[in-house]
């Protein structure tokens, strides 16, 4: 046993390793003060603070990634830092950074609170990926969830309240179930620390129905965050109600962190002869793909369509982590990055056109000329999301399918083949709605009955950011080694 003084010393040592998280926390505090005391310069200052905090965090994580590669246990094993977690965190940070860049022209004066909320969510994502203890795990998940409830109700309209209450009730119910599951798991394994070797041993020894129920309860919370069917019903309403830039961010950042966490948790739950959790994940992925794509087909509102599209994309993310093999991590990260870029390309268009009163997909009819570059870059994003060449979306899907085939080759179970075929059919299905926006914009004639208001404010007609993202999507297709080569430098050991 170590004494108290040594413990404190260890904790102090650990503090230096979680600098990015500390910076984010300081950023949140600073934001609160700025918004309270400097009302006149609120928007630019608050935005700059959050931007700098995230930028700093990215630099710190990059330097960490380059300096060491073995897992490091912090605070007596409450947190653990390893390359896979850092990579997921990095993607979240980059996604948030781009999200902030996107939101700059769109955040209203009174919407500064968003920045606080967003930083809290990002902090939650960081901790979720790092956590090695069920309680920290739970708290970080709540740190992501609670700001979400706020966001959903932010517009203070009846519709938003309804969305928020829906989200809140659903979310708290799932949180409670998850806590219950954790307590069962504690009862079974006798430890809160799931990186502990004892945890895995106990799981191995206790393969019975109780464990199965406990794990299902536990995974429920994560799957809720990743938007996996049947826990997806909240998202379209929230997406419709919340301010658009926030939706753009919410649809990617928490999802990627939760995917990472799911991978880490399942990796520890999996035992050689026990329940094969990948089968459960496979069925969920299958179900999510179908629900997401089939619902997206019927959507008329661009945002709701993107909400369901992001549900379908979750299905592919699940497919990518399916075998819990950390050697396949580059594929997950690659796919996440493509997903982030593609999603932002589309949301940039939605943001830009919503200002001019275009919300429904039909309203894009004949707008191809007016917003050519916006719709062009959004189309690249949509093609990437659908997974067609010449975008990195194809490379991502190709890698996922290759991985599935490999799994089928190793263990010829019809499930993998079915999943592969369903995945491929869904690619075709998804194209039905992904092609809708370019279809209306370029192929349909403008409906003159619907007069869209052009705001008097001068609008940028050249979407620099969206074009950069589109270009990245194409260059990642031509030279995937750019990213994959870098990703393969790391040591993907969790323990």
């Amino acid at each position: 046993m170590t004494g108290l003084a040594e413990k404190i010393q260890l904790s102090e040592l650990s503090l230096s390793f979680i600098l990015p998280e500390i910076i984010l926390a300081i950023g949140i505090v600073l934001l609160v003060f700025t918004i309270l005391f400097k009302p006149s310069t609120r928007k630019p200052l608050a935005w700059t603070i959050s931007f700098l905090a995230i930028l700093l965090s990215i630099f710190l994580i990059l330097s960490k990634l380059s300096s060491y590669s073995n897992p490091i246990y912090l605070f007596h094993g409450q947190l653990v830092q390893h390359a896979p977690a850092l990579l997921f965190i990095l993607v979240c940070d980059v996604a948030m950074l781009i999200g902030l860049l996107i939101s700059l022209p769109y955040i209203q004066k009174d919407e500064n609170v968003f920045l606080i909320v967003l930083l809290s969510i990002l902090l939650g994502c960081h901790l979720l990926c790092l956590s090695a203890n069920w309680l920290i795990f739970f708290i970080s998940l709540e740190l992501i969830a609670i700001p979400g409830y706020l966001l959903a109700a932010f517009k203070k309209e009846k519709k938003n309240f309804e969305a928020s209450i829906k989200y809140f009730v659903f979310g708290s119910f799932i949180s409670a179930l998850m806590l219950y599951g954790i307590s069962w798991l504690y009862g079974i394994t006798g430890t809160f620390n799931f990186y502990n070797a004892a945890f895995n041993e106990q799981i191995q020894l206790n393969q019975h129905a109780m464990l199965f129920i406990a794990v299902c309860l536990l995974l429920g919370g994560l799957l809720f965050k990743i938007n996996v069917a049947p826990a997806h019903a909240w998202s379209p309403d929230v997406y419709e109600g919340a301010p658009a830039p926030v939706v753009a961010i919410l649809s990617v950042v928490p999802k990627i962190a939760a995917t990472g966490a799911l991978l880490f948790v399942c990796f520890h739950l999996q035992t050689r002869y026990g329940v094969r959790w990948s089968v459960l994940i496979a069925y969920l992925s299958l179900f999510t793909l179908l629900v997401g794509n089939l619902s997206a087909l019927r959507q008329k509102n661009a945002r709701r369509m993107m909400a369901y599209s992001s549900i379908a994309q979750s299905g592919f993310l699940l497919m990518a982590i399916l075998n819990f093999d950390l050697q396949n991590l580059p594929v997950v990260i690659f796919y996440s990055i493509v997903f982030v870029f593609g999603n932002y390309c589309v949301f940039l268009l939605i943001l830009h056109t919503e200002k001019n009163g275009i919300e429904k997909i039909e309203d894009y009819a004949g707008k191809g000329k007016k917003y050519f570059w916006w719709i062009f870059s959004a189309s690249v994003g949509l093609i990437a999301l659908a997974g067609l060449p010449p975008t990195a979306g194809f490379t991502g899907k190709f890698l996922i399918f290759t991985q599935l085939w490999e799994q089928y080759q190793v263990r010829p179970s019809a499930l993998w083949l079915n999943l592969l075929i369903v995945g491929i059919i869904n690619t075709a299905l998804a194209l039905f709605y992904y092609i809708k926006i370019p279809y209306f914009a370029f192929l349909k004639e403008e409906n003159t009955a619907v007069q869209t208001e052009t705001t008097s404010k001068k609008l940028r007609n050249f979407p620099v950011l969206a074009l950069v993202l589109a270009l990245l999507l194409i260059s990642l297709f031509l030279f995937p080694s750019m990213l994959m080569g870098w990703l393969n430098n790391f040591n993907f050991a969790l323990r």
Partner: protein, 531 residues
């Protein structure tokens, strides 16, 4: 330093597309596109000259590594940028370059959004070149898949009244096909590799013959007897490829996108669609499906032949009932592409030669047919057969070109269509004889199809061109002007080629014969077909 000629064939249209996007000037776009086409013709001339000095069956080849991706624990995926020109791709590339140039000329009728049109046309050009030359399966797939997007917009934006419906139908059918191909692509990529720890997986079409590269634990290994639904996985893979490329061909019952796409597409796009894009289906079967899965292909010969014969007869039957001139030509395309399947099913050198010959000859004939349909449409904006009669009185030159095209298509001896169908039928009758690879009745039915095609063409000539001039449209007689010099410029080279190919088959056979010899020795060696 040696010029990478094959890469240039792809690069020139890409650069042209970029240039069109950058410059302004309404008349400039078409000239740029024409310049690209002429440069390609020039390049092709250089390539032909080079190949005449080369006695190999592979004339030109360019290969560099493209990208490497580690695949989890078991291996590395290695893809290549590998282009190749052999006896199969050379005539197809030549045909494509010529037809694309003519289609660019025919694009005179496009009046709106020229910038977008010509840049998409050049993108399509580049991906066609790539598809016919790519030797790495992934590279091929990328070019193949990328053809979809420009084509979708070309039909969807510049098409006729129901263009939206037609373009989305085209898109989804072809996408479904290419997804089936994707499954096989992944399976093949994971089956062929070199070395161990880590295994380097890759798949080029020339690897199909190197059975030592087929990994022993691969699911597509012939010794793997696990299967689904009573068929081995290899058989399934062949079926997937067959349907995937068959949709593009198109074959019955996946043909319904074609008449819609053709009727709605503008003339130059119809020309490209019929003359080139359909051939990629046949090319894929010849290049991929058969060499990789020869024994499965032989087992399923009956079904391949059956689908082919149904396409021949059913396509001709529908053409007979078509009221729209373009639809008639579209259905006749389906019918003629059925010969490609019948030739493949025959598993005889004569049949295979017929397949390649049919692809080239139909490329020229269908280009001509669609150009001729376009000539009428530009003048009257109507293509209903019943609305015209006695056209030969007002448009005699037009009529003579129609005669050449129709007779070439219905298989008149001395014209290219006859040669192709003659080869295919010879192969099919041989296969239907003592070896009974396909039933004897298949080539007989194909003959009925030819008879029907003579029926619909002659009937069309009788309805539209014979008799005294009359039109039920309320337009002036002066609208029916004869061919302009520009239209003649497009039609004359095609007509000459139709004659040349019909009278001097050696022009093409000198390229395809060595290829077929080598192909047959690999895919259907004498022992396999019981000779």
């Amino acid at each position: 330093m040696e010029l990478p000629l094959l890469t240039l064939l792809i690069l020139i249209p890409l650069l042209g597309a970029l240039l069109i996007l950058l410059v302004n000037g309404d008349t400039l776009f078409q000239r740029l596109a024409l310049a690209v086409g002429l440069l390609q013709v020039l390049l092709f001339g250089v390539i032909l000259f080079k190949t005449s000095l080369n006695s190999n069956t592979i004339y030109l080849s360019e290969k560099v590594n493209w990208f490497t991706l580690p695949l989890g624990k078991s291996g590395i995926l290695q893809t290549h940028y590998h282009l190749l020109l052999d006896g199969l791709s050379l005539p197809l590339i030549g045909m494509s370059i010529l037809v694309l140039l003519i289609a660019t000329l025919a694009s005179q009728e496009i009046t709106n959004k020229k910038k977008g049109y010509f840049s998409l046309l050049l993108l399509l050009n580049a991906s066609i070149m790539g598809s016919f030359m790519a030797q790495d399966f992934l590279l091929f797939y990328l070019f193949f898949e990328f053809m979809l997007l420009p084509m979708y917009f070309l039909i969807g934006i510049w098409g006729g009244k129901r263009r939206e419906y037609a373009s989305i139908k085209f898109f989804l059918y072809t996408l479904l096909g290419s997804l089936l191909i994707l499954v096989v692509l992944i399976a093949l990529y994971m089956s062929y590799g070199q070395g161990a720890n880590p295994t380097v997986y890759s798949f080029s079409f020339d690897m199909a013959q190197q059975s030592n590269l087929l990994q022993a634990d691969a699911l597509l290994h012939p010794n793997n007897f696990s299967g689904i639904g009573g068929l081995s996985l290899r058989t399934w893979a062949f079926i997937f490829l067959f349907i995937g490329f068959g949709i593009k061909l198109p074959m019955f019952p996946f043909h319904t996108w074609l008449p819609d796409a053709h009727v709605e597409a503008p003339t130059p796009i119809s020309v490209i669609l019929a003359a080139i894009l359909l051939k990629i289906g046949g090319y894929g079967l010849l290049r991929i499906a058969y060499p990789v899965f020869p024994s499965e292909a032989l087992q399923l010969s009956f079904w391949v032949g059956l689908v082919g014969v149904i396409s021949i007869v059913y396509g001709a039957w529908c053409a007979l009932a078509s009221k729209d001139l373009k639809k008639l030509i579209a259905y006749s395309s389906i019918s003629h592409m059925g010969f490609v399947l019948l030739g493949l099913a025959s598993a005889h050198a004569e049949g295979i030669a017929g397949v390649i010959y049919q692809m080239i000859s139909h490329g020229f004939i269908s280009a001509m047919l669609f150009l001729l349909a376009g000539v009428l449409y530009v003048r009257t904006h109507d293509r209903k057969i019943a609305h015209y009669s006695g056209l030969h009185q007002v448009m005699p030159v037009y009529f003579s070109f129609v005669l050449i095209a129709f007779f070439a298509s219905l298989g008149m001896p001395g014209l290219s269509g006859f040669m192709a169908e003659f080869f295919v039928l010879t192969g099919a009758f041989m296969a239907g004889g003592s070896q009974a690879i396909i039933p004897f009745v298949f080539p007989m039915l194909a003959l009925v199809g030819i008879l029907l095609s003579a029926g619909y063409y002659l009937w069309t000539i009788q309805r539209m061109f014979m008799g005294t001039f009359h039109t039920s449209l309320s337009i002036e007689k002066s609208v029916f002007t004869d061919l302009s010099s520009q239209e003649k410029m497009m039609l004359v080279p095609l007509a000459i080629l139709v004659f040349v190919l019909g009278l001097f088959p050696q022009v093409i056979l000198q390229y395809i014969n060595p290829f077929i010899e080598q192909w047959m020795s690999v895919v259907f060696p004498a022992s396999a077909i019981g000779l």
